[in-house]
């Protein structure tokens, strides 16, 4: 059974359909792996063994009845941010400990419709606020490639679980890079779709004008399969966009001959790790070897992205997190003298340091007298950032950048300096501000054997183009196949 861990969704689906393996056998295989290896990595907050085996049993019956869902019998890991009926959903926060949603998020419903198996809840930064998965109330997640290092964040559990073969694929969310950055640092594929492409109904909100849901997979074809399952309009979500969704797997073998690929000069700055810079030079050569032309482009407002993001995201978060008041669900300490006292005690003991810091920044930026100087100014600069991309895409079909300026850093290295931590997202946040899609694909290793990711960006609703260029790149770049030594 050892070779199962080499197999993708596409390959395993075939084995399931031909009855070479059952979903229950497959699920037990991954449950065993989690038992064996997750003690060191801690990618899961909770493993839902009984629930998983029941779903696997149901999937096997459906396969026997000749049904063929896109994910029928496939064991997936789920970031602990999606409301799932009857399953504790915590957002890695003490304030939601014990919360059992009475309904399914649309993403969960869609995965169920396709017959997936829910292995468990994956760890993350508390309320998805972080770049290292060190702020979870339930403890840190470690990078499978080096247990002394972080897996990236906020969807660090989702990336680590795929890298360590503790699930076939997983689901994460991306507000400023929370899918692409951990995907790069753990050596897997991660996509943030266009804002409005995947319904967020039932996603616990962080920053509502930036949040998107997307997959972590072993390769680009699996990313296309996952996107087919999760993309599409949802009347329950008012920012979901009623556009037809193409079959993303059709973009796999098309090639990119004749494409223009933009290389933004502002993304090749001092401070990039030298091995990442070298890997990017190789990536450019690979893209040109595929018959595309690389052209230098400019995204002139790049240097302002981080400041804009760290006003807008905390502002929206401070508003979204006002709902955690100790009344309707979750944690409430004892011994409050009145309602206001209860609110303050609940929130002070229920939220961790980074969440409180962002509530403070956001509340300040929205408070009377400072709104124009911070939130309004940031929203205007956001318009300029978005315009940079619109203009860039008149000159090129896709953009290539590094996903992260550094490989995985050491645990604890940036915890005392929030601004240094925020800089980890410097190449990914502009995408969320502009609402465009992005994908991170493995593009090599550092001298020390840590994974490096390349990021491709495209215009709104052009996820197909990203699948096209990323799959061509993956095939032609011929990145050495390695697995972390566990």
């Amino acid at each position: 059974m050892e070779d199962i861990l080499e197999l993708t969704i596409a390959q395993i689906r075939e084995l399931l359909q031909k009855r070479k393996i059952s979903s229950v056998e497959l699920t037990n295989y991954f449950l065993e792996r989690i038992k064996r290896f997750d003690g060191d990595i801690s990618s899961y907050i909770k493993v839902t063994e009984e629930y998983a085996l029941k779903m696997a049993g149901d999937a096997d019956k459906k396969i026997a009845d000749g049904e063929n869902g896109q994910l029928l019998g496939i064991p997936l890991g789920i970031k602990d941010i999606y409301c799932t009926k009857g399953i504790e959903t915590t957002c890695a926060s003490r304030i939601l400990k014990g919360f059992i949603p009475p309904y399914d998020a649309t993403i969960i419903r869609r995965l169920k419709d396709e017959g997936y198996v829910h292995l468990g809840r994956l760890n993350m930064d508390e309320f998805a606020m972080g770049s290292s998965t060190e702020t979870s109330y339930f403890g840190i997640t470690r990078n499978p490639w080096d247990l002394e290092r972080i897996p990236g964040g906020s969807s660090g559990g989702s990336a680590a679980a795929v890298a360590a073969d503790e699930c076939i694929a997983s689901i994460g969310s991306d507000t400023g890079g929370s899918i692409r950055q951990p995907a790069a640092l753990c050596g897997v594929v991660g996509m943030k779709p266009t804002y409005g492409r995947v319904s967020r109904f039932g996603l616990i909100a962080f920053a509502s004008s930036l949040d998107q849901i997307g997959p972590f997979t072993k390769d680009v074809e699996d990313c296309a399969i996952m996107m087919n399952a999760i993309a599409g309009y949802d009347p329950r979500e008012s920012t979901s966009v009623p556009l037809n969704v193409p079959d993303y797997t059709e973009f796999i073998s098309r090639g990119i001959g004749g494409w223009k690929v933009g290389i933004p000069k502002e993304y090749f700055i001092e401070g990039i790790h030298p091995d990442i810079e070298k890997a990017m030079q190789r990536a450019i050569t690979t893209v040109e070897g595929l018959g595309a032309t690389c052209v230098e482009i400019s995204l002139p407002h790049t240097e302002y992205c981080l400041a804009v993001y760290y006003i807008i995201a905390p502002a929206e978060a401070s508003s979204n997190l006002a709902r955690y008041d100790g009344v309707k669900y979750g944690f409430r300490p004892q011994g409050s003298i009145d309602l206001l006292d209860m609110y303050k005690k609940t929130r002070s003991a229920g939220f961790g340091a980074e969440v409180k810091r962002r509530i403070m920044i956001g509340t300040y930026a929205l408070s009377s007298g400072y709104y124009d100087a911070y939130y309004k100014k940031a929203s205007q600069v956001r318009a300029l950032i978005k315009r940079d991309f619109t203009e860039a895409f008149t000159l090129c079909d896709a953009i290539l950048t590094p996903t992260s300026p550094t490989p995985a850093f050491k645990i604890g290295e940036k915890m005392d300096d929030p601004l240094q931590m925020y800089l980890s997202d410097i190449f990914t946040i502009s995408t969320n501000l502009a609402g465009i899609p992005g994908i991170s694909v493995p593009c090599g290793f550092t001298k020390d054997g840590l994974p490096i990711g390349a990021q491709f960006l495209a215009g709104h609703f052009e996820e197909g183009k990203l699948i096209q260029i990323a799959s061509a790149f993956e095939k032609y770049a011929n990145i050495e196949k390695r697995r972390p030594a566990l």
Partner: protein, 98 residues
């Protein structure tokens, strides 16, 4: 220094947080550093630039007001830390004169 401890305490109150003295100290210094970084935006002229609150144009979405199945009272209060019968239970809201 853009903000002092007094502002941090006031903002904490607005955000319904009770900070320990050491947290007030820490957040005062960290928030000052972060806000200083934000000041880079002031070097940009944004006169006449329309603000963007959403990256993809979103219009007000309306739907028919139809009665549909919803959560039962039991499901709605299922997660309440404290409840009485079919209600959420909270500490006193209005001051009671002794």
């Amino acid at each position: 220094m853009k903000i002092d401890k007094g502002v941090v305490e006031y903002v904490a109150h607005l955000g319904r947080l009770a900070l320990e003295p050491n947290e007030v100290e820490l957040y005062t210094s960290q928030l000052n550093r972060i806000l200083e970084y934000m000041d880079s935006l002031n070097t940009l002229d944004t006169e006449g630039v329309e603000s963007t609150s959403h990256a993809v144009p979103v219009t007000c979405v309306l739907r028919e007001d139809l009665a549909k199945d919803s959560f039962s009272v039991e499901e709605s209060i299922l997660n309440a830390p404290e409840k009485i019968g079919s209600s959420f239970k909270v500490p006193p809201i209005i001051e009671v004169e002794e």
